[in-house]
Amino acid sequence: MTDRMLRKPHLRSPTDETLLTKLVLIGIGGSFLAFFLFLPLIVVFVEAFRNGIGRYWDALVEPDAAAAIRLTLTVAAIAVPLNLVFGVAAAWAIAKFEFRGKAFLITLIDLPFSISPVISGLVYVLLFGSQSLLGPILKRYGIEILFAVPGIVLATVFVTFPFVARELIPLMQDQGTGDEEAALSLGASGWQTFRFVTLPNIKWGLLYGVLLCNARAMGEFGAVSVVSGHIRGLTNTMPLHVEILYNEYNMAAAFAVASLLAALALVTLALKTLLEIRFDAGNAGGRRH
C-alpha cells in the first residue's frame, strides 16, 4: 500500500473513507474482476499449454489452423483500411463543417454497435442468399459472396464500421478548424492541409481507432459465423476454427488457437493504455466505446 493510504491522520478528512472501508471496497472490486475478467483469461493460457508446448505448436501449424490464421489476417487487412478511409472522411465532413442532419448522421454511424452481430450477418444472407433478389443473378455470373471470403469481409466491415469514425469525430471537433484555416490562408492546398496539418494532429487518435477496429475485425464471431458456411481451410477464420475444435472436444487445440487471439487482445490493451498515457488519445471521446 502506498504512503498516502496508510498514513494515519489525526482527524480523517470528512470527504474520505476509513482505511477499513477502502480495503473492503478494493477487496470486493478486486475479487469481482478476478472472477469475471482475470480468471477467464488465465484459463485460456493454462488450457492451451496443458499438453505441453509441442502439442501447442502442432495445433497452430496444422494446415486448417494455418489457413484460418491466414484468412483472419487477410480479412482484417481489407476491412480495417476500408473503415479507416471511411472514418477519416466522415470525421472530416462532420467535424470541419456545419450542416443539417449532422446529429442524425452520427447516430447512423453508431448503428452497427447497437445491432446484434448475428443480425449483421443475417442482413447479408438476405441480400445475397439463394432466396434473395441478387442471389440468382450472382449465381448466373458465378460470383460467390455468401459462404466465401467476400461475405466474411463484408460482415467484418459492418461490425467494425464505427470504430475509427467515432474515435476521430470528437477529437477533430475539439480541435476545431483554426489550424486548417490558417494553413489554407497561407496558400496550402486542401490535400496539403490535410496531410501536413490535420493528419499530425489526429495521428494518435487515428492509431487508437485502428487498434480497436483491428481487434474486433480479427475477433468477430457472430456475424462472420452466419455468412461463412464454416468450410474448413477455406472460409474458417480463427474464432470459427476455435468453435469447430471446441465442438469436436479437441480442447487443447481450441485453446491453443484461442490463446493467439487472447494474446492479440492483450497486445491491443497494452498499446491502447500506452496511447492513453502518452498521448491522451481516446480521451476526447469520453473513453466510451
Binding site: T2, R4, M5, D16, L25, I26, I28, G29, F32, L33, F35, F36, L37, P40, V43, V44, F86, A89, A93, K96, F97, F99, L105, T107, L108, I109, S114, P117, V118, I119, L122, V123, Y124, L126, S132, F158, F161, T177, L184, S185, G190, T193, F194, L212, A215, G219, F221, G222, S225, V226, P239, V242, Y246, F255, L261, A265, K272, T273, R287, R288
Partner: protein, 285 residues
C-alpha cells in the same frame, strides 16, 4: 454570427473556406449506404413482405417467446449486476491509490478486446461441472454452465466495461466542494455518497446500464458455448435466428431479427433521451 441570424437564409451547409465537404460527405454517405443502410433496408423489406398473420405466428411461437425471454431476462440481470459492481469498481479506480490500479484500469477493457468466442470457451471451461469453478458447485447440485445462470455470467463479462467506462469520466469530474458542503451540513460519509453523489451519477449509471443491456440482448459468441442451448430453457434469441437460418427458414429468422432490431432502436432512443436529460440537468453526458 448571432447578429446576422435574422437575415440568415435556410441552407444545408454553413459556408466555410475549408475544402473537401462534397467529397468526404459524399463518400461517407455512399459507403454508409452500401455497407449499412441498404443491407438493413433489405431486412426491413423482407420483414414487411411477411403478412401480419405470419409475423404474429412466428412471434407468438412458444420457442421464440422463450428465447426472447431468456435473452432479455439474462441481459437485464447481468446489466443490473454490472451497474452495482461497475460503479463500485469505478469508485475504487477513481478515488483510491493502490498497487496495480493502473493495471486493473487497463484490464477493465478486456471484454472489448478479447474475441467473444475465446471468452465463451474459457467461461464454459471454468463453469462446466468439471471446470475450475463449476466443480465447487457441482457437489451441491448447482449447475452454472448450460443454464441461464451461465448465460448471465457471460453477459456480466461482456457488459462490465460499458458501465465502468461510462461512469468513470463523470465520476472523475465530481467537484469535491459538493462533498465538503454535505459534510459541513452534518451529513455522514454514507449519506454524502448515497444522497449527494449517486443522484448526480444516476444518468451515467443508467446510460451504462442501458448500453450493457443492449449489448447483452444481442450477444452471441460468448454465450453459445456456456449456454447449453436447450430450447425453451437456455436458448437465446440470436441463436434462434442462426437455427432458423440453418433450416433455411428465412421468414422465421427475419421476424425474430426485426423484433430484436426494433427493441434495440428503442433502447438507443432511451439512451439518447437519458443523455439529453442529463445534459439539460447536470451539464454533462
Amino acid at each position: 454570427m448571432t447578429s446576422a441570424t435574422a437575415f440568415k437564409r435556410w441552407r444545408v451547409k454553413e459556408p466555410s473556406i475549408i475544402p473537401g465537404f462534397g467529397l468526404t460527405l459524399g463518400f461517407s454517405l455512399a459507403y454508409l449506404s452500401l455497407i449499412i443502410l441498404i443491407p438493413l433496408a433489405g431486412l426491413v423489406w423482407r420483414a414487411s413482405s411477411l403478412s401480419g398473420a405470419e409475423l404474429l405466428a412466428i412471434l407468438t411461437d412458444a420457442r421464440t417467446l422463450a428465447a426472447l425471454k431468456v435473452s432479455f431476462g439474462t441481459a437485464l440481470i447481468a446489466a443490473a449486476v454490472n451497474a452495482v459492481f461497475g460503479v463500485l469498481i469505478c469508485w475504487v479506480l477513481v478515488r483510491y491509490d493502490f498497487p496495480g490500479r493502473r493495471l486493473i484500469d487497463a484490464m477493465v477493457d478486456l471484454p472489448f478486446a478479447l474475441p467473444t468466442a475465446v471468452a465463451g470457451i474459457s467461461l464454459s471451461a471454468l463453469y462446466a461441472p468439471q471446470g475450475w469453478i463449476g466443480a465447487w458447485f457441482a457437489p451441491f447440485g448447482i449447475r452454472i454452465a448450460y443454464t441461464p445462470i451461465g448465460i448471465t455470467i457471460a453477459l456480466i463479462f461482456i457488459g462490465l466495461p460499458f458501465v465502468v467506462r461510462t461512469v468513470q469520466p463523470v465520476m472523475e469530474e465530481i467537484d469535491r466542494d459538493v462533498e465538503e458542503a454535505a459534510a459541513t451540513l452534518g451529513a455522514n460519509r454514507f449519506q454524502t455518497v448515497f444522497k449527494v453523489l449517486l443522484p448526480g451519477l444516476a444518468p451515467a449509471i443508467l446510460t451504462g446500464f442501458a448500453l450493457a443491456f443492449a449489448r447483452g440482448v444481442g450477444e452471441y459468441g460468448s454465450v453459445v458455448f456456456i449456454a447449453g442451448n436447450i430450447p425453451y430453457v437456455s436458448e437465446i434469441a440470436p441463436l434462434l435466428i442462426v437455427i432458423r437460418l440453418e433450416e433455411f427458414n428465412y421468414a422465421g429468422a427475419t421476424a425474430i431479427a426485426t423484433i430484436m432490431l426494433a427493441i434495440s432502436f428503442a433502447m438507443l432512443l432511451v439512451i439518447n433521451l437519458i443523455q439529453a436529460w442529463s445534459r439539460a440537468r447536470y451539464g454533462h453526458d
